[in-house]
Symmetry: C2
Subunit: 339 residues, 2 copies
């Protein structure tokens, strides 16, 4: 019924548990044949080492914590896959927590992860990132922010992100290059650096092209389908309609596309649409969505790589690279291409 421990093995073999422990860890201190004998015994008894006990004495759990707003978001899912993949390759496992963009729950999640003694924490799209880093810095657990940079320059602030400002400029610049002069923006959730940076990139591109930034052209969104849907209504209600729109992300853009089709708005003829993320579905909606691609898998991989580096030299040299910024890439498809 219960689990078999090294003491059980020791009893069965008539030796001390120390020797069993060393044998299973392939220590050179134990005789070759007894080592083989113990291993066979462990195998037949169905022994499984207790990771908790090991973590207790070794001080490392070989586990990292991942906090995500919701896993039911293709972007987050792809990022987590990148994390999981490289974590597995290095013998680490992954404990997942969702915050639902609720700061309170996010803090509870991080506290839970700390209690589980994870060796490192990766937080995606956080609104309270700086707070985590401040609180956890003392315990020695590295916290890596993914796609959210801490406002003030913290001492131990690690982050991996895409250059959202540049991405926003790319998307908007593309529309300007196509001749559009009245370009709208559907914003993301408030309070996230991702949202404000993309918005800033949008505004910067407009200003550079000597186009005025009509505040009415920036309508709120929530990063989901329905946000894009209601955003379209808001845009159609404007007395001077925009001819193009840059959406916070692909989900928003796809929701907006659906609404446009139902409203009889032709894309891209009546309205050109650009998204952000390049989630796998972006290429499969119609018209296929022009977007700024984020290297989602790579983002996760880089974050995990940084975690590994930080755990390797824990406390010693606090890693030479503390802030990885990857570029986004414009991918032009039919939602802006007048064939």
């Amino acid at each position: 019924m219960s689990n078999v421990s090294i003491k059980d093995i020791a009893r069965a073999a008539g030796i001390s548990h120390s020797t069993v422990s060393r044998a299973l860890n392939d220590s050179p201190l134990v005789n070759a044949e007894t080592k083989a004998r113990i291993r066979r015994l462990a195998d037949t008894l169905g022994y499984s080492p207790d990771a908790g006990a090991r973590s207790l004495v070794m001080g490392r759990s070989h586990t990292i914590g991942v906090v995500v707003t919701t896993i039911a978001d293709p972007f987050a899912a792809e990022v987590v896959e990148g994390i999981e993949c490289t974590a597995y390759a290095h013998g680490y496992s992954l404990i997942l927590a969702a915050s639902n963009d609720n700061p309170e729950r996010e803090i509870a999640a991080v506290e839970m992860l700390r209690s589980k003694r994870v060796d490192s924490i990766i937080v995606t799209s956080s609104r309270v990132g700086a707070l985590h880093q401040e609180r956890l810095h003392i315990t020695g657990v590295p916290v890596i922010l993914l796609n959210s940079h801490s406002q003030r320059g913290m001492p131990n602030a690690y982050s991996v992100r895409v250059d959202d400002f540049h991405g926003g400029r790319l998307a908007t610049g593309h529309l300007i290059g196509l001749g559009h002069r009245r370009i709208a923006h559907v914003a993301g959730l408030e309070g996230h650096s991702v949202s404000t940076d993309r918005l800033a990139g949008y505004q910067h591109a407009l200003a550079t092209a000597c186009l005025d930034c009509d505040p009415a052209c920036v309508v709120p969104g929530n990063g989901q389908f329905d946000g894009g849907r209601t955003a379209l209504e808001a845009l159609l209600a404007l007395r001077e309609r925009p001819t193009a729109v840059f959406c916070y992300n692909d989900m928003t853009a796809i929701g907006l596309l659906s609404a446009a089709r139902q409203a009889g708005i032709a894309v891209p003829r009546d309205l050109a649409v650009v998204g952000f993320d390049n989630i796998p579905f972006a290429a499969h909606v119609c018209p296929a969505l022009t977007t700024v691609a984020q290297p989602m898998f790579d983002l996760g991989k880089r974050a995990m790589d940084m975690a590994l580096a930080l755990m390797g030299c824990q406390g010693n040299t606090p890693c030479d690279v503390t802030d990885v910024v990857l570029p986004g890439q414009l991918i032009v498809r039919d939602s802006t291409r007048t064939s």
Copy 2:
């Protein structure tokens, strides 16, 4: 730098660690004021209980393991969200592992979870489910299969799933009702009960309607976009073209839709298409996809509920319900609707 333990608190308060332990667990055995004093002290010292140590002595980790083929699949993501949500509500956290549909990795993942002493394991879309249940049954860890039923009737076989056979009949029956007489099927990955059941439902529906099941009309797929894309090519190569196709899942169907658009095939006029799952994107492709909806979130929730029930009465009465089967629901959209 390091973490503060109850012994540190005890030393600072000048009492024994036992009292601290009891105070923090709100035991009625300790004096009210000392309890308050200790709690304040723990708070200022930034105490965080060691979940591993607690798990060691208590025998429960308040953690459940989730094995998934890949998290970058909208279906799996939605299921995991359902699991996470109800797990969080009951104070459980969730450790995630991906198998990439590799049986070897899946077994390694389950072994890892066992080592982490999770209180229960949920495995989705497994090919080796029965094997897990056999191996883990002895250790007392309940293994719940999600969308894959064990072939032979195991004693402790727990599963939550959608009635795939019925779903396959629903989808195919819908097409038959529309007048189609030559209906193809794009299969899923081999070796999964999900795939074979949906195929069986398809065949049953054809047989019931006295239509012949031409084996050539069943083409292989992989549950991904590219599988649907290549499947369309295979269908177009048939000397007698089908007028409708039932796809293993929505991803396959969406890939097929994209390919059809590029090949100049009009859907649904030239080819009616039905998917399976009703992932959020199914409503946003064009034409909007007719599909058999799975209650993905609820599937995850039910599995977690079952896990909770099994852990509540561990070993005693092995839960009255061991196999939950939910119905799928046909959702008709434009990919089969000749407007």
